[in-house]
Each structure stands twice: as C-alpha cells, then as structure tokens.
Amino acid sequence: MIRVANLHKSFHAQKVLNGVNIEFATGKITTIVGTSGCGKTVLLKHLNALLLPDKGEVFVDSVDITTLGQRDLYQIRGKFGVLFQGAALLDSMTVFDNVAFPLREKTKMSESAINKKVPERLEQVGLGEMGHKFPAELSGGMKKRAGLARALIMDPEIVLFDEPTTGLDPVLATSIHQLIARTHADFGFTGIVVSHTIPQVFDISDYVAMLANGVVEEVTPPEIFRASQNPIVQQFIQGKTEGPIQVL
C-alpha cells in the first residue's frame, strides 16, 4: 500500500505540491489527472523517491521512504516498475537488452533463463519480433510497449505510468490502455497512471484522482468522478476555459 501524507514540493519560488494527501489502493489502478504542469509527474516521482519532498511523507508498505538511506531506498525501488513518458529506453542497447537489463544487473538469472523470459514479455506487449532493434528504430507506440516490457520484467508489485499515451494517436493510445489493462489483469500489480487522456483512461481505472492547485481534490471511482459536483472536476472533464482552474 502507498500513502502520501501532507506532501509539499517547490522548485525555487514555484510551489508545485501544497499538501497532497492520497492513498493508493493495493492491486488497483489509480489514475491521477489534472491540467498540464499541475504537478502530476512531480507527485509520481515522489512515490519511488526519484524526487524528495520539502515536507511530508510517502509510505510504501508502512515505510516512510523519504527518510531512507541509499541502500534501503534501492531495496524499496525494487518493488517498482516505471514506464516513463518517453519510455527512457537506454539507446545504446537493443530492445532485448533493454528488457533484459534489470535481470542482468539485479538478479543472478542465467542467460538461458533470460533468453526465455525476455521474449515472453516482448510477446505479451506485442513486440515479439522487435528484440533485435534499437530504440531509435522504433515508433513512439513501440517504444512505450518496450518500456512497459522492461517495467514488468522484474514482476513488480507497483507500476508507475507517466503519461503513457502522450504523443500517440487515439488508436495507439487505446491500444496502450488495453495493454495496461491486460497486463494488470495478468500480473495484478498496483498501477498508478498519470494521464490527461480523458475520458479514455477512465475505462482502465479503478479510481481517479484529481490534482489541482497543489492538492488532491477528489479520489473516487470513475463513474462517481464523472458525476462529481466539484466545479474543478467538472471544468476539467468538460474542458472549459472558465471556472476555478486558472488558464495561463
């Protein structure tokens, strides 16, 4: 279980998170939505301590990871898989080597076992024949799939998705959503998705959290979220320029 308590984060004079409180349900997919630049990715990067808060706590299985030393932190990060916005594949390696990378670095798994497991994962994300290619040779959608295969290769308990469909056309975006839903059903991880692809992302979400003005306004199942009376939520869903959300 992940719990965020009173999280504050500023970059120079700009306050981004201003007392975020949220609990992510184990084994469920929670999607964080909000306007561009509202701090969704910043919040996500606090969950595995890629960023440290100015104030507040992040509990992963009851351990406050903001106070951990480097060794304990690396142990906690082993529970996570992360799909970055641009996939963040290591561009000096092939897709196969990218997916095999955590296994080679963090386990004592034999090469023959790796040669069995990696193609399985690539097959699951629809890249069965692409293992020999380099990231530069892949389309945006393929990179995301390869990134997802790498995020899942260590069978993580928690998977973080940072805008998995940004920059993709609607068809590819739907296929990535379906892929997330299918892999979630297969592996049963706790998924935390940052996205502003609404309403499509509601289809794969168990809960939707609205981040605005540096705080979480609402965390509810998608159907309740859609019907929310909160003016911020309604303005965001309807994409209106007038309302409590200030458009810069």
């Binding site: 990060r77 082993g78 970055f84 916005q85 641009g86 990378f101 955590p102």
Partner: protein
C-alpha cells in the same frame, strides 16, 4: 551597497557549493569503482571509446607536433651550434610536457565532449532516472567505468603521442634538415632519464582523471533540455582545458 554585497556573497556561496558537489561526485564515483561487482565489460568498452577511438587524432596531432618541434628546435639550437641535441630537446619536451598536455587536449575534444553530451542526453531523456528507478546506481554504471578506463587509456595514448612525435621530429630533423641520425638518438639516450618518463605518466593519469571527472559531472547534471546539453558540453571542455593547465603547473613544480 548591501544588495551588491549580498549578491556577491550569493555568487560566492553558489560557487563553493558547486565545488563541493563536484568533489562529492568524484568521491562517489571512486567509492563505487571499488564496490563489487566490477563492471569489467563496461571498462573494456570505454577503454575502446576513450583509447582506440581517439587513436587517429592522437597519432595525427603527435606527428605534426613532433615535426613543428623539429623545425623550431633546429632553428633555436643552430644559434648555439647545438643541432645535434635536437633529439634530446624533442624527447624531453614531449615526454615531460607536450605529450601529456596535448594528448589530454585531444582526448577532451574527441571523447570528453562526447561523454558530456551522451550523459546530458541521458539526463534529458530520463534514462538516468530510469536507472535509479530500476535500483541501479547510475554513478556506478555510467561514471566509474569511464574513470577507470581513462586511467588506463590516457597513459597509453600519451606514450603513443610521444613516440609518434619523436618520429615526426626525426623526419624533419634528420630527413629534411640534415641532422645526423646517430647524434639525434644518442643525444636522446644520454639526456632522457626514467624520471622524465615517469613524470609524463603521472601527468597523463591525472589528466585522464580530470577529463572524465569534469565531463561526466557536467553531463550528469546537465539541465534536461537541448540547450542544457550543449551548455554542459561546452563547459566540460573549457573547464577540462583550464584544469589540465592548472594541474600541469602544480605537477611540474612538484616533479621538476
């Protein structure tokens, strides 16, 4: 007046903090270099990128440096009727000073800038964050192997620069200006002692460390944008050049 003083103070504090971060980065890289498991395959790969890939530029610059030394040395020594000492003057100049410094400049331009740009791009495209999130220490994976590789490759490149430079001077002195081949080599043999070779090797090892330390630090901490990468690359080359010359002065004064 107060605001001017506070601005100067802020700049000074920023500079001191920056130097502290630079030093801690080196400490972390050295510490990780000694922590098992050793990344042998990465060290070998970076010996290739730092050493083998810089070979052509080092050979070319070494040859022309030696030829220029042949002409200039001959011109100066002829004034004292000491042309026969050309081999000795060239060898001492190259082994003690020009070999380590110029080959370090070549490696900075050829490989150091590429290191800064590569790590800067990795920062901008979240590849370094990806390593952290996979519980892999990016300093151990990206920086320590490069530092070890440069400590091995730099003395070898410098040695090649020296040999090619002496050959260039020989071509000019003996082949074009008519200095006797025997006096060229016997003068060199009589004047060069082990300490001359040793001081050059020590310098090249130090310069190898400076290049990878500075270039990796600048790339690793580049602002995550296109201008950040270009700025990091430029700063890494300029700072490496300056530190090589400053450190060269101190080493020369200690080991003279």
């Amino acid at each position: 007046m107060v605001s001017l003083l506070s601005r100067i103070g802020r700049v000074a504090l920023d500079q001191i903090a920056g130097m502290g971060r630079l030093f801690l980065f080196l400490v972390a890289a050295v510490f990780q270099a000694f922590r098992p498991p050793a990344k042998i395959h990465l060290i070998i790969y970076h010996i290739k990128t730092i050493g083998v890939d810089s070979l052509s530029v080092v050979v070319l610059s070494g040859f022309f440096t030696g030829m220029v030394m042949g002409f200039q040395g001959y011109y100066s020594l002829r004034k004292f009727n000491a042309e026969s000492w050309l081999g000795s003057a060239t060898a001492l100049g190259l082994l003690r000073e020009l070999g380590p410094v110029l080959s370090a400049f070549m490696v900075t331009g050829r490989t150091g800038s590429a290191m800064a740009a590569e790590l800067g791009t990795m920062r901008a495209t979240e590849q370094i964050d990806a390593l952290y999130s996979m519980a892999i220490n990016p300093i151990k994976y990206l920086v320590s192997p490069r530092i070890i590789a440069s400590l091995i490759a730099m003395p070898l490149l410098t040695a090649i620069f020296n040999v090619i430079g002496i050959f260039g001077s020989y071509v000019v002195g003996v082949g074009i200006l008519g200095v006797s081949s025997g006096s060229f080599f016997s003068g060199m043999e009589n004047s060069v002692v082990f300490h001359d070779v040793y001081s050059g090797v020590v310098k090249s090892v130090c310069f190898g460390l400076i290049i990878t330390w500075i270039c990796c630090y600048k790339g690793f901490n580049a602002p995550p944008m296109a201008t950040g990468v270009s700025q990091a690359t430029t700063e890494s080359v300029v700072l490496s050049f300056v530190l090589i010359l400053v450190w060269d002065y101190f080493l020369t004064s200690i080991m003279l």
